[in-house]
């Protein structure tokens, strides 16, 4: 590699890294401001440009604003974990079926069925939300965690199927055939031999499920009243006509922290090369 290319490469990486980190740094510094640190124009350095205060951080844990992010955090965690787990189970079963058997439903073949799954993501959320409201009302599940889990599964299942089909397609059929020749029941073959070989694929699928489940605001917001509040809702509840930038920043940073840990975890798989086949 030439020197010029190397310089260019590290410059590019540095520029992009600052672009990525910029908003986080800005949110971090803003979270320690108060009205006087915001109103006069942009300020950056605590103690130099403005007088730092921890008010924003106090406020999100049940301080004066009456906002507390702890319960919403736990709700989001439950919903995300449950919905991801259900989607992964249903999704990998369906994906395995689609990669191993030939289906025909009316005129739909395998590829069309996969497209049916994926096409659910094309639906604008607004098409779904009002009918979902009536569905959950009918089932008595409005404003409840089970209700939100069901809805979230509808959003996550397509992603799980999409990731897993590609993945299973890359696992040689010989593996399952061998297991079945040994007298394994197809489900047993799937659980004992295929799944252990699919951890990287499951990791990717789980990550996508976690990301989209955790970050859903649209549905959680409209299908709950007072009992169940998720974390994005708690953050958005701070976006008032006088937005307290400091509290908003503190709440945002708190809200995204769990998924940053997820990024570290995913990267570990990536570096080991385990994710290799997952997206082919």
């Amino acid at each position: 590699m030439s020197r010029a290319y190397l310089t260019f490469k590290y410059a590019f990486i540095a520029v992009w890294a600052s672009f990525v980190a910029g908003p986080f740094v800005w949110a971090l510094t803003t979270s320690f401001k108060d009205a006087n640190g915001v109103q006069g124009g942009a300020t950056y350095l605590p103690w130099v440009d403005y007088k730092p205060t921890t008010r924003g951080w106090q406020d999100i844990f049940g301080g004066e604003g009456g906002v507390n992010v702890i319960q919403p955090f736990l709700n989001s965690l439950q919903i995300t974990v449950l919905a991801s787990a259900i989607s992964l189970v249903l999704g990998s079963l369906a994906a395995y079926g689609l990669s191993r058997y030939t289906y025909r439903i009316g005129r739909m073949k395998n590829a069309d069925i996969v497209f049916f799954f994926v096409s659910q993501r094309i639906m604008p959320p607004i098409v779904l939300v009002i009918p979902f409201f009536f569905l959950l009302q009918f089932a008595g599940l409005l404003d409840s965690i089970p209700g939100l889990v069901i809805v979230t599964v509808a959003l996550l299942l397509p992603i799980a199927v999409w990731v897993m089909v590609d993945f299973f397609n890359n696992i040689p059929r010989e593996i399952d055939e061998m297991a079945m020749l040994d007298g394994c029941h197809p489900f047993a073959a799937f659980v004992r031999t295929i799944l252990p070989n699919s951890l990287p694929g499951i990791t990717v699928a789980a990550m996508f499920c976690a990301v989209f489940g955790w970050n859903d605001f649209f549905f959680a917001f409209r299908l709950t009243f007072t009992e169940v509040q998720t974390l994005p809702q708690a953050v958005v509840a701070l976006n008032s006509s006088i937005p307290p930038w400091w509290t908003l920043s503190a709440a945002s940073l708190f809200g995204i922290s769990p998924l940053v840990l997820l990024a570290v975890w995913v990267e570990r798989y990536l570096s080991r090369g385990n994710l290799a086949g997952a997206v082919r």
Partner: protein, 535 residues
């Protein structure tokens, strides 16, 4: 089996008997409520918010005796019951809701669940469950102009609350705002209007008065017409008159399309299009329901609005209410007109421009459009039209099973002690709506200068006296009308359309909306608004 059931029945009877005796003994409590418990507050105790957070002002007020006082409410026992409340995002209206919910829970033992929602989402969040017949909230805080859509789902305020001293002190205009077809269905908790706010330190400074005279040949004073407003704003734009080393600007206005820009436009249009001699409506001709939104009065206002662009600070064409408050309250702009919030923000104890601001009526116009004669009238004095912009209100759902507790919460929320404290906290968004609040001495006690306090109180109370005024379009489907209006105004400001064309298109859409919602329904509702407009 039978024995068991009989025992249960006996127990139930015993419980209800107890409840009945409690009722007759305690008096005032409704059928289902538990016996009163001892009060936690002595009559007339000192009330302050300091125990709820170190940032609350240290002001102390006296608990005023009455059915809604700390003392009376603390006697109620609502333990084991839950009150579900929806309110605006924190802090505006959301923070006082949270605070008073916490206090109410401590006093009565009730569980109070509050959910906070951004402004743009509140409408659907409240209306979707109401329309689906899903009881979601007992108490709702929302902008009062939605009354036309909300009224069918609201429980009228019971007489015993209407008879309280604190309710009787609410000004006539705000009682009217709370009333729908002769019934009080909204519980007043806030009073709002648009008025003009200026930096008195600059307007009164001889140095700037001389400079202004030299540049324009006119005397610098608080603008009385929109023309003067524009001229002053223009002169002070792009100059560092605050001495901060940064440029300052003339005017901060709410201009973000899907924020509250429609209210800013109505403020600008009121003086041009509300003729005291035309008594058949501001937005429509109420007899035919023909939209008036594209008449020359409104077009003139929109032309002004577009011209004002040059006096706005950077980003001024996308200002939400929060930006306007930061811009004026933070000392960046000379003038602004909208709700009380920016003014109260400027008057916070830690504000850099405290007591350097004053309030005045919205600018007027020397000419006003007369649609009966199809020409501009030139009244003897300037046509000045107050705009009773929507404010926050509260209501109890008709299908709520906790109505007594809900109304007790609202009466506690707005009791004299709470209101006095809430008024002084700018970010709460609670503004004067009772006669007692129009008292300069009260504001001077909060550390306001005499000039600031007096102009503020006078501006507010004068509005109540005017017989020629504008209210919001309080009809079913109001959000559609206002969304269409905001879209047209935004098209003109961005230069996509000429003002006349933009408003013609709005008028066309308004006709469609009227047809969709039902002409009779809108017309009946608008007749009530027209009655308000003419005092």
């Amino acid at each position: 089996m039978t024995k068991h059931r009989r025992a249960k029945l006996a127990a139930a009877l015993a419980v209800s008997a107890l409840a009945v005796t409690a009722c007759s003994a305690g008096g005032g409590g409704s059928g289902a409520s538990k016996p009163d418990k001892p009060a936690k507050f002595a009559p007339g105790s000192d009330i302050s918010y300091t125990k709820y957070g170190s940032n609350y002002p240290s002001t102390t007020v006296k608990d005023v005796p009455g059915p809604c006082s700390y003392e009376s409410i603390s006697k109620k026992d609502y333990s084991g019951r839950t009150l579900r409340v929806i309110s605006h995002a924190v802090p505006v209206m959301g923070e006082p809701t949270q605070l008073h919910a916490k206090q109410f829970a401590e006093l009565t033992g009730a569980k109070v669940d509050v959910v906070n929602v951004p402004f743009g989402e509140l409408y659907q969040k409240i209306l979707t469950p109401l329309q689906a017949g899903q009881p979601a909230y007992d108490v709702m805080f929302y902008p009062s102009l939605w009354i036309g859509d909300m009224a069918p789902y609201l429980a009228p305020v019971p007489q015993k609350y209407l008879d309280t001293a604190q309710m009787k002190d609410v000004t006539k205009a705000y009682m009217q705002v709370a009333t729908w077809n002769g019934k009080v269905v909204q519980y007043p908790v806030d009073g709002d209007r648009h008025y003009l706010k200026v930096r008195s330190d600059i307007i009164d400074s001889p140095k700037w008065q001389a400079a202004y005279k030299a540049a324009t040949g006119k005397t610098l004073e608080v603008p009385k017409t929109w023309e003067e407003y524009q001229q002053i704003a223009q002169f002070f734009s792009g100059k560092d008159w605050s001495g901060s080393g940064k440029l300052n600007y003339g005017s901060a206005e709410v201009t973000k399309r899907d924020d509250l820009m429609f209210s800013a436009f109505i403020s600008r249009a009121a003086a041009y299009a509300k003729n005291p001699n035309v008594k058949t409506g501001f937005f429509f001709d109420v007899d035919t329901m023909k939209p008036e939104i594209n008449n020359p009065g409104f077009v003139r206002a929109l032309t002004d609005f577009v011209k004002a662009k040059s006096t706005w600070p950077p980003g001024g064409a996308n200002f939400g209410l929060g930006d306007e408050i930061f811009s004026f309250g933070g000392g960046q702009t000379l003038m602004s007109y909208s709700w009380d919030d920016a003014f109260i923000q400027a008057q916070q104890p830690d504000s850099k421009i405290r007591n350097e601001v004053e309030a005045a009526q919205l600018p007027g116009a020397t000419q006003v459009w007369n649609r009966d004669t199809n020409q501009w009238d030139t009244p003897a004095s300037i046509n000045q039209v107050p705009y009773f912009t929507w404010g926050w209100t509260s209501a109890v759902a008709k299908d709520s099973k906790q109505q007594t507790m809900a109304f007790d919460f609202l009466c506690f929320f707005s009791n004299d002690a709470n209101t006095a404290l809430d008024l002084t906290i700018g970010r709460f968004g609670i503004n004067p709506y009772r006669n007692a609040h129009f008292d300069a001495a009260f504001w001077e006690k909060q550390g306001w200068s005499k000039q600031t306090a007096e102009t503020y109180v006078k501006t507010l109370s004068d509005m109540e006296k005017s017989p020629n005024r504008v209210f919001d379009l309080r009809v079913p489907g109001v959000n559609q009308y206002m969304s269409s209006l905001a879209n047209g105004v935004a098209d003109a400001i961005s230069g996509q359309k000429q003002p006349q064309q933009a408003l013609d298109d709005v008028a066309k859409e308004w006709n469609d909306i009227t047809t969709q919602v039902g002409k009779d329904k809108v017309q009946a509702a608008y007749r009530n608004v027209v009655a308000l407009e003419n005092g």
